[in-house]
């Protein structure tokens, strides 16, 4: 639920990183936090378990600068990926304007990626939102693991598994090394801002 403040000429937008557990959602935010330190005035907030898994969400406010005269404040969130945390995951989606789905490229994670997309669709529908309409970008993460000899799903397989009906932009990435992290972020911001603009017309 984006909020437009005409007094301050400011738009606040909520973007959520979604996907299966241990897929690299938090790593995406950590990379962005370190890379754009000068634009981020606050600490990144992480509500996590003792074992360093996301319990509720991570939160990172990010100043985009001006678009068409408006200061754009992007609020980045991650959800907890673990299946058992669905109640909190759903809460984070409240008022979401755009979604980055971080899929795990490891072969063994094929099924959990697909289940997580289905879960996203269900959770969005509780807020009367459609996965087919919301701005969405896929990020196929952990491509760097190919170098370690770990079996990965091919780009084509992941497209077929996850994106054959949605047909949204997708990127091969390594959140750990920063490959395509910014590209993914830019894409979701562009799509989300375009959707907001359309809503206003």
């Amino acid at each position: 639920m984006a909020f437009v403040n005409l007094k301050k000429k400011e738009v606040q937008v909520k973007i959520v990183y979604y996907g299966p557990g241990r897929g690299g959602k938090t790593t995406n935010l950590e990379y962005i936090y370190n890379k754009f330190n000068d634009r981020i005035k606050t600490e990144m907030i992480a509500i996590k378990t003792q074992g360093d898994r996301t319990l509720f969400f991570d939160f990172l406010p990010f100043e985009m600068g001006k678009i068409k005269g408006y200061d754009v404040k992007i609020q980045l969130y991650t959800v907890p990926g673990q299946v058992k945390y669905n109640a909190t995951r759903r809460l984070v989606l409240r008022g979401v304007d755009g979604v980055v789905f971080v899929a795990d490229s490891m072969k063994v994670r094929k099924k959990s990626n697909m289940l997580s997309v289905k879960n996203l669709q269900e959770n969005l529908s509780t807020y009367k939102k459609s996965i087919f309409k919301i701005p969405l970008v896929f990020q196929y993460n952990k491509r760097d693991l190919a170098g370690d000899g770990i079996p990965l799903l091919s780009y084509e397989t992941m497209e077929k598994d996850l994106n054959s009906r949605l047909k949204v932009p997708s990127f091969e990435a390594s959140a750990l090394q920063g490959d395509s992290v910014v590209k993914t972020l830019k894409k979701i911001i562009t799509l989300t801002m375009a959707a907001l603009e359309k809503e206003f017309k």
């Binding site: 639920m1 907030i45 609020q75 984070v92 409240r94 008022g95």
Partner: protein, 134 residues
């Protein structure tokens, strides 16, 4: 869904926050939506809190507590209060989609604050009512 508030509406809301809360010694008060966006805020200047982070956490916290309410068969807990040694936080729901959060110290009585919160909610509802259905 996107909603827009213009200068007049925001001036009115900020005016309410200032009159009802700053005058009784509340340190910081802000109105957020359930997505965690900050709609309006007032600060006594004594303390510079990071309200954007507070807003995200408050919306999450309120959402978690509302879900707990449903599990035990309540519609909702419309009011939340966290007491600290020096500072305390009071949360109150404004219509379906907004939360009013005040941070105050031991000089402010909770009872008086709650009275002011109730007044402010009525006034804010009058302004936001046409934006979003209550």
């Amino acid at each position: 869904m996107t909603y827009v508030l213009d200068q007049k509406e925001l001036d009115a809301i900020e005016g309410i926050l200032e009159e009802d809360f700053m005058d009784i010694g509340v340190r910081c008060v802000f109105l957020i939506d359930m997505a965690g966006n900050v709609v309006a805020s007032q600060d006594s200047g004594k303390m510079k809190h990071d309200i954007y982070s507070l807003a995200a956490l408050a919306a999450g916290n309120f959402g978690a507590v509302s879900t707990m309410a449903k599990i035990i068969g309540e519609d909702e807990f419309s009011l939340l209060f966290h007491k600290g040694k020096k500072e305390s936080i009071h949360f109150s729901k404004v219509m379906k989609e907004f939360l009013l959060i005040s941070i105050f110290d031991e000089d402010v009585s909770l009872g008086f604050l709650r009275l002011k919160v109730a007044e402010a909610i009525d006034e804010i509802t009058g302004i936001l009512g046409h934006q979003l259905s209550p």
